[in-house]
């Protein structure tokens, strides 16, 4: 079982983001998502939303995020992704963003509100291809077989499966319905399966480890950041959390 963890860039500070991501790698994370803070993150629950808000109030810009990516990609060896909302990419310029993200060392992009249906108008997937960025597609239990097929055609690396009907950080129960859902995803995607939204403790990992390949943890770690203000304690607690969850 692999693990992808998540941070909001600049939350609570740029320096802490860098420390946290390094600690995540040391503790055993296999991938990290660096979320670019945005004012209206519609797939995110209150925890990540608040983190975005604070990062934006601290004045974090897309250029700051690119710099953090650059710094981190020189310091860690695991793949780093940018996660963000399409307006951020669009405003920067789709091609320019992809080019600079790649130059900064990003491995791929996760942009949940840019469906393949709009590619004809946006040329976003094309820009990812041009600049050799992995295109991570997000799939949900609501996705029809047609939507799975459409997304599978453009997906790279792994498929990001939303665990349940909800936003990030909302409570998930990894019950019976998970198996048929993942089986359906596997019919369409010939890629490793990542599962996220609401994964927050070792029992969750135990419940999913025979079903999916990668667990994604976001809000649960932001909550640790919220709880421990002392930087040293915070790093220790994050590492402990990751190690516990991976046992």
């Amino acid at each position: 079982m692999k693990l992808m963890t998540h941070v909001v860039v600049g939350y609570p500070t740029i320096a802490s983001t860098i420390q946290i991501v390094k600690a995540m790698e040391q503790a055993g994370a296999d991938y990290v998502e660096l979320q670019i803070p945005f004012s209206d993150p519609i797939a995110d629950g209150p925890t990540i939303m608040k983190a975005c808000d604070i990062a934006l109030k601290n004045g974090i810009t897309v250029r700051d995020c690119l710099k953090v990516m650059k710094t981190l990609s020189n310091k860690v060896s695991i793949p780093l992704f940018f996660m963000g909302y399409y307006n951020t990419v669009f405003h920067f310029g789709v091609d320019a963003f992809c080019k600079q993200a790649k130059a900064a060392g990003a491995y791929g992009l996760i942009i949940p509100d840019m469906p393949p249906d709009e590619e004809e108008h946006e040329h976003f997937i094309k820009a990812c291809r041009t600049h050799h960025l992995a295109q991570i597609r997000v799939i949900t239990p609501a996705s029809s077989n047609e939507r799975m097929k459409l997304n599978a055609q453009v997906a790279d690396e792994f498929v990001y499966c939303v665990s349940h009907y909800g936003v990030t950080g909302s409570n998930a129960d990894f019950k019976k319905s998970l198996k048929p859902y993942i089986a359906r995803v596997k019919k369409y995607f010939n890629l490793p399966i990542a599962l996220g939204f609401g994964i927050s403790k070792p029992s969750h990992i135990r419940a999913i480890k025979d079903i999916v390949d990668i667990a994604i943890v976001g809000s649960a770690i932001i909550k640790i950041i919220d709880k421990y203000k002392n930087p040293k304690t915070r790093i220790r607690e994050i590492k402990k959390f990751i190690q516990d969850i991976l046992i």
């Binding site: 004012s39 209206d40 797939a43 808000d53 307006n87 669009f90 405003h91 509100d113 996705s143 939303v162």
Partner: protein
Amino acid sequence: MKLFNFKTKYDADNSGHFGIYGGRYAPEMLIPALEQLEREYVAIKKDPAFEKEFFYYLKTYVGRPSPLYFAQNLTKKLGGAKIYMKNEGLNHTGAHKINHCLGQALLAKRMKKKRLIAETGAGQHGVAAATVAARFGFDCTVYMGEEDIKRQRPNVFWMQRLGAKVIPVMEGSRTLKDAVNAALKDWITNVKDSHYLLGSTLGPHPFPSLNRDFQQIVGYEVRNQLQELEGKLPDMLIACVSGGSNALGLFYRFLEDESVRMIGVEAGGEGVSKKGRHASRFAGGTLGVVQGYKTIFLQDKEGNIAQTHSISAGLDYPGIGPQFAYLKDVGRVEFSSATDKEALRAFNLTVKCEGILPALESSHAIAEVIKQAPKLSKDTIIVVNISGRADKDIFIVAEALGDKEWDKFIKEKSK
């Protein structure tokens, strides 16, 4: 059919794009629900029984047709064009919002949904949503920014009496935009049994076209009423624009009548030169993709949504409906703005001259009438949409006018 088979050359393509605007930039979770809504939307456009049912409730429940009233005193005072007021404020629930709420409730019934989710700014859409929920037997949850709850408290009370759960939104600017975000998240969570009764001509496809089609009844009636009263088409149509539902409702049936000028009025707040203190998207807005659609948004250079302000909660929103962004680009609709002060002045004038209490949103449109009418000859006709009545604005108007007796009354009451 009279309504839903109507088309114009300014309509969206099959995937909901009005030129470069519109589209469906939604998270994957919502796309199947939007596809289902689109299928039903396409189906009702061809279904005479649906249209018949819609007309039935418009007549017997909403109280349509709403009057087209010749504002003789205001016309005389301004000394130019003849001014007609389409009084949507006389609809059941007090605004045009009931038109698309009724339509969507009938649609939700067809889709066998059990619950309606709505966002609201001024509370007019929320009240109309809660009303159709009560009438047609849906559970109803309405999201409203904490700031707007303070501004439009009477509507919160009525939504609750109607059985809706009103959830205060504490994020961001705590206004309409944040209520839309919260409603979208509720929909993501409850998409299986809930319909998102979105309250304007904005959001992902098919909402902008769907709500326009339900609102076109306004212009459809105006056309017939004016034909009867004057025997001709209007020369100018004026309406306030937030997302655009009342303005498109009035304009849509006239879009291909090239002689009819159309002006959309945005909220100028404290003045469009004051960044963050107005909601005029065409004064400094830029192209963006937010809340599931592409249009002109007030945003910073990083693409984060900017603060907005308006005295009227219903116009205090950073994005404009995609069809209007397109209609402006192709030169079919003109845009202007009215400041808080101009809107208040227009409000006072309308109350005193005509004995009509227009909502603060609609007062923005009247402010533009005050600018336009004197410039036009006496044989020209302006129709302005009075999108709602002012009952909900009692606290804001009392405060803005510095009404001491009301203030005293409120203080005594709170003891």
